[in-house]
Chain length 682, copies 3
């Protein structure tokens, strides 16, 4: 069965390579288990009509497909997949382990997630079960096997998504089973309890342990737990959810060679790199409402999985997200289309809405969709249609070209996030800090990637590591190699000053990095409300948050000094050091002006200019971003978008034709209306 | 025993009719169990002196009157009632079930109220016991019997108040006994578990149940429970507290034919209509501090019990409420007198302060009273005296007349409250929304009732149903009948868009109502911070909160359209449809001006004018309210009050005499000082 | 062993007298258990270098010194004390009971602290154990004995500090053992359960108890517990922690005659007077960041222990305090030096930083120190050095002189704190209220003491008791005696209006005090947002918080009347009454101006002027404080400091020499830069 084209495409899938996702996908989440068959059919046909080719199915359907233990019934799924096939459409199938049915958990309090205050969750919402529970894992495995078996017959299923938004609603679990797993994990991680004691400095406050099974799970207690312990419990939690994903993926792989993914998000506490190491490609969900926050997604997820830039935006809203306790803003006109444009331009192979038809009951009733519960177009319908049209004009271009990576990257690291959020000083938040930092790039039409700690720096010229308390040996070595070859590495603010166990270094203040920089007399102190004046290239600025400054750094050129007779007069907070053909630039504080507006971009700008990183063919102005792609012949495509609510300009160095409108655009300056996009062929 | 007048009055009591409360009552709560007998006597005589005729007694006195299980001792009560009788005064007796004594609960954790986080309450405050507990119910029954037996001998007891402020301190209980009762209740409500599954759409998130005893009590879990389940648990909680009240009332009735009431409040989560169906008349407590909030009480409670407008304001403050964790504002001079004036004018048969003598210990030490703990006049004493004088001048008028109902009513529904507060979008609160809506009437001297969903529309010309997500079939049918006869029904904002299980309709967006309005292409979307411009009668306005708009409504006259090229350009959010002799007006959003000030009154005003609802004899200005009463001869009394802190005006169309001052007021405009009141006879 | 000078000094120690602390101490907390021996040695030598002579050791070192039950190993301590001795330095040794090791608590949930919501704490932070647990007490005793035995050999240990910051992280414990202790305590306190019932007025809300073992521990329940019960539970908690301290002190005393102290703080909930009755001298920690908050410490702690003004500031920050969840402000330049100057001038015998070397791991990583974790000077190093220099110039002066007490005192009472914080009306906080009150003195260069309820009034001319709800019989009698002799006693705002059980008086509103003042017609009412105008000495002011006003007070001179036709027109809120040679002044409200700025100082100023309390030799301006000391010959030293960030002035009545700079200062006006200090000899 199935259409020839799909078969041909599927035949080319090879696990672990770009071939995974051969077509360009556009679609939405479909809930055939919730609606009458006529409604489902109508929805599929409506999807087709507006240019969609993909339905995502099954992530909450456990009680429908396995209504009683070991009794599986995939009839509804069968009908749906066949209908999709009839319409020449794809499906992504999900495992429903986020929502275990009542027959699994009834009377099983041991299986339930437990909070750090000892609250044991119950049936009825999502993620109420501890995913480390062995009985739960067994049942998840059985389900995965049955689903994989079933899917063998369906060629139009392009991928399996495991579970749904790991850790969307819950933090670490603190149940007794987790406590046992924790002790095993610790033993594997530290081998010797004395080593753990030393690494965590448990002599502080007499916290010392004499055996692994004494180590507490950090449930709520008086004041706060040892920070190294908290970091370890986060790593433990990350590892075990990744282990669950691997367990599920391996189960499916034994039966069916199908690409496996998971829909992650910036919003959840996960080790994304570790997670996707075990999966075949990356997916993510996003419900942000600013251009910068969206561009961060498209700058981050393509880089999470080594060598696999292809990914799917698995969930976003056609218009507004929300639930009964949170009515959210509606997206401005053109915003969603711009999101899809950027997604596809950035190696996003799929762009899916959640959901196609509005949920008629439950928590997510006030969440945007393509059609309403009563089957009529919603406020987001027009955007959905526009994206269908956009794709019809650009699909061939996309299939034959690849995104060109920017030469600038900022590290967005799950470990750095954990470090900054645990030691937040009551004021800091990693995602917010990085968003404020990245905002400059988006608002100034300067393309930059968000890399993780394992990303390769091969294509880079400028590497930025803001708010990265711990710089590991391996990261530092790779970054130094990059610098030796001519790269520029901006370190800071608040970077490099903590060991892997989230402690201070006991030499130089920065450990080996400090020795490389020849740092002498390093001091660190907070500047939360105080006014610490400083100079950077003749300009008066102010220093914020934790300030790191040194009395000397032999061989370095000082670029910024404290200029305050109150605090640290004359200490250097900003200096560059030539290393090989490149430079390390150490930035010891958040820079702001007298009105507390960020000036961190001043340093970035300096080196962007020094490296001449501006494009030549296309000069972009405020908020106009140029996503470049190279086709098989080497021709450059400029996917240009004004991702803002204001008119903006761009300059073409020569006449080019916009593929979308079919219009030629002359050499010189042009005006782009809000959220307007173009594809120029160089 | 007892004075002849009281006997005569009591002889005329007939359960379930206005005859219930034949006199006009004025008084305060008295705690003879807390004070020496000389103090009690002194207080009674002081009450008498300032014109009070009623004492409320016993609502916390369980440990005094039943110090040990089955050992009753009503000596203090006997003395007090006799002293009151001697002074020709009335009493209202209360059951003390809000404060169970230690002998009842010691060691009985099963009897205690449990929160949704699993916290089990303990002895020592109020409402710490689960009122659904069978052992507790037994003891409450025994107490009620003994009290009723005792009261047989006292003719001056005009009513029994059950318990005190149900649910003042607690939400639903989540104890094991409640869980069992919940399962029984569900079975009675839904009969078939599959029906429950369908109605609640439990297939969402695999929540399906296979038997009633699996259905969770919605204790705290990850994220949020199914909304239909939450609504059901609220109905269950309402039903069971009402069942407790009925149980108590029936127990007393078997022994003594005495009117039974309860002191409810806007502030608590109850089904008031259901509660008072089983009781004989309505009482309420209020501690608000704005004119609008107070007028809402007097506009609402007279309509709660079918055919029984007579009610008692059981508790309010002479000056300021408060407790150790909340010092509240003091009422402005004249405010409290105006409250009593409005209460009596609106069929309030009683107006009682809490308490007469300030509590000398405990939580409520900083709560206003008539005399202080040391027996001297408080800051509220003068107002108490003034009310005594007011009554002496108006009691005969009140006894021989009845309030005339306004021709405008706004629905204030406990179900609508539950719906809006559960789906609050993080921003909405039913009581606040209704108060903002009702504010217009009070500030503009336009009298309006607050009706419940079961109120009769016979006397109405204008019916408003704002923030009423679910409009039931029966309500809609009655409202349509009202419209057919010439009434105008303003639907919205945020009304008619949800089923009884708090879900979306799957046809028209408004179900049957949508078909009646011929609604086509209905969309709903949030406007939380976005700027959605619109036009209403040529005026530019903005739409807020959830916006409902349609592409068409055949046969309707569009009054307001969206005027925004961003969102829903040209959609109608406001339209009227002629039905029979009347009109339905659909209002699809909260209307505001550019400064976010409410403009909802624009629509109300339009129809108030169309219906010519302004009075002729008395034209009221800002904040001057005219409570009309009709005496036995058909003469109209104008109870006029400037319920504000500013001077205001009113216009008399002819000369009339003010009964209070005895002064004639000429035709024309007059100035009323803050909180000033008059009684004009037409 | 040991240097002769130390031996000589120690020989002069006599428990319970000033001889306790014979030298002047300057130092910091040292953690030899956390660092390599070379680092410890380096730190000791660095301390010495900057002028320090004292190290505080051991308060968290239980797991190091008793790694297994009954296995003690003080090797590290031995080495450290010897090294200190070698450097001619002192040590303060601490018991580590704040941080019990895992071998003590593993598996012992009964030993753990339990919160009022039933959360049982676990190992890993601090104060996770219930200090009332008998097994814990046993082990604490064993440790104290062993430590005392060990210390016998070390002459340079000047004191033992018990535990660390009692109740820094926890409130009262609610474990089962505490419940039993509570019942015993109640029986001892009230003897008869009926007496308890009467005193607490438990008839309110049927709270009556029939035996002591029924009395609840006030765990969280619906609404709030009886206020008298809450006050009793606070006293119980205070008594039992003081009993623990006494138990530990007595244990040590049996073995070693060494002065014993504890480091308390304004921030914790303790009965400090009761605590230090059992100890030998007072110590305190402070991490405040305003001059007023610091001066309050130095005005309070010298008066806590009868006849022992000598005390130690045991912990403060060189630059900024903080922990991972709270980055704090850095102190301005000169602030910390001024703190040390004031401490020493006010009979502080010791000034110690926490810590010397920054904590390399754990929660307190971002807390200022003298040297960083990597051993280099921090931003606070310079201040540490400056203090060393200051001491070298002033130590001899200090050793031969004593502080002269100010003639003004404000009562800062732990009971008053409990009363105000429990009945806070949602708005008040005792420490904040007192700080606002005391601010006037500091900002105006007017020296005043903070006394406790047991302080002697011998040296006073002006006594202020603001926010002191309960004035006990004994306090009142002593204050009256003071007044009879010519003193002026300012009572209020919010003082004298509650019994010892936190209830209203039932006579006069003020009980006996009211009778002394001949108060008639007293009213009390809140003024939270209302505008209550009043007059004080012709000036229009406004009354805030709880207002107490009277219609008469025979024999008193009315100084302030309410001037509002809304509330209490003409009532007196402020009046003075001649008693013997002195005056009682009753102040019935917080006084503010139209901008809500405090005007309480107007009354203080009036009596400061009346009493001519300004100095003659030195006239201080804004924020310039003159700490006077008298040497053995009767010569007066003026320790003058501009404790503010602004330049200020002072006037010398004659030429004097500044000991610090060695410069003569002429008669007349001089300018002091921010935080500048001088020592002038009169």
């Amino acid at each position: 069965m199935g259409c020839p084209r799909i078969k041909e495409i599927l035949a080319r899938i090879t696990i672990g390579a770009i071939e995974l996702l051969r077509d360009i996908y556009y679609g939405a989440a479909l809930y055939p288990e919730l609606w009458k068959w006529e409604t489902v059919k109508k929805d599929i046909s409506e999807m087709k009509k507006i240019g969609m080719n993909t339905a995502r199915i099954g992530e909450f359907a456990w009680s429908t497909f396995e209504p009683k233990k070991d009794q599986f019934d995939f009839t509804i799924l069968e009908d749906t997949l066949k209908e999709l096939e009839k319409q020449n459409m794809y499906a992504i199938l999900c495992t429903p382990t986020m929502t275990p049915p009542i027959w699994l958990t009834a009377g099983e309090t041991n299986m339930m997630h437990q909070t750090n205050e000892g609250l044991t969750f119950i049936h009825g919402a999502r993620q109420h079960v501890c995913t480390n529970n062995p009985f739960f894992r067994d049942r998840a495995r059985v389900y995965a096997e049955k689903l994989a078996e079933f899917l063998k017959d369906y060629d139009n299923v392009i991928a399996v998504q495991l579970d749904n938004e790991f850790k969307a609603h819950v933090g670490p679990c603190y149940c007794n089973n987790c406590k046992n797993e924790w002790h095993k994990w610790l033993e594997k991680e530290y081998q010797d309890i004395q080593l753990l004691n030393e690494k965590w400095t448990t002599k502080i406050w007499s916290q010392e342990y004499t055996s692994f099974d004494q180590v507490v799970i950090p449930k709520k207690t008086a004041f706060l737990h040892n920070l190294s312990l908290e970091e370890a419990y986060t790593r433990f939690t990350h590892d075990l959810i990744n282990d669950f994903a691997k367990d599920q993926a391996d189960t499916i792989r034994q039966i069916l060679p199908i690409p496996i993914t998971h829909n992650s998000s910036f919003a959840f506490d996960l080790d994304n790199v570790g997670l996707f190491e075990n999966l075949d490609f990356v997916s993510f969900d996003t419900y942000v409402d600013t251009p910068t926050a969206f561009v961060m997604n498209s700058s981050y997820w393509p880089n999470i999985k080594k060598d696999v830039a292809a990914h799917i935006l698995m969930e976003t809203s056609t218009s507004y997200p929300g639930h009964i306790k949170e009515y959210r803003k509606i997206h401005p006109k053109g915003f969603v289309e711009a999101e899809s444009f950027i997604t596809y331009a950035s190696e996003g192979k799929g762009f899916l809405f959640w959901p196609f038809r509005q949920q008629k009951g439950g928590i997510e009733q006030p969440h945007g969709s393509v059609v309403s519960s009563w089957g009529e177009p919603t406020i987001g319908y027009q955007a959905s249609q526009n994206i269908g049209e956009l794709l019809s004009k650009t699909k061939d271009l996309l299939l034959k070209s690849r995104a060109i990576q920017p030469e600038i990257a900022v590290i967005y690291s799950d470990r750095a996030k954990s470090f900054l959020n645990k030691e937040n000083g009551g004021a800091l938040d990693y995602r917010k800090a990085l968003t404020d930092y990245f905002d400059y790039f988006v608002k100034n039409g300067q393309r930059a990637s968000l890399y993780n700690e394992k990303s390769s720096f091969d294509q880079l010229k400028l590497l930025c590591t803001p708010f990265m308390h711990h710089i590991s040996d391996s990261f530092r070595n790779r970054a130094l190699e990059f610098v030796e070859k001519g790269g520029i590495w901006l370190i800071g603010p608040m970077s490099g000053d903590r060991t892997e166990e989230h402690q201070w270094y006991t030499d130089t203040g920065l450990g080996k990095l400090g020795r490389i920089l020849n740092v002498e007399g390093m001091m660190q102190f907070p500047s939360m409300e105080t006014e610490i004046k400083a100079k950077f290239e003749g300009q008066t600025i102010f220093l914020r948050n934790m300030v790191t400054a040194v009395s000397g750094a032999a061989g370095a050129k000082v670029l910024g000094k404290i200029d305050s007779d109150e605090f640290g007069e004359g200490l250097a907070f900003l200096f560059e050091k030539q290393v090989g053909k490149g430079k390390i630039v150490f930035i010891g504080a958040d820079l702001v002006d007298a009105e507390e507006q960020s000036l961190n971009h001043l340093v970035i700008q300096k080196y962007v200019e020094e490296l001449s990183l501006k494009h030549e063919a296309v000069q972009t102005g405020a908020s106009v971003l140029d996503f470049e792609r190279r086709d098989e012949d080497g021709t450059i495509q400029h996917w240009l978008v004004n991702f803002s609510g204001e008119e903006s300009n761009f300059v073409l160095e020569k006449e080019m034709v916009d593929i979308i409108s079919g219009q030629p655009f002359g050499k010189g300056k042009h005006t782009a209306s809000p959220y307007k996009y173009y594809v120029f062929i160089d």
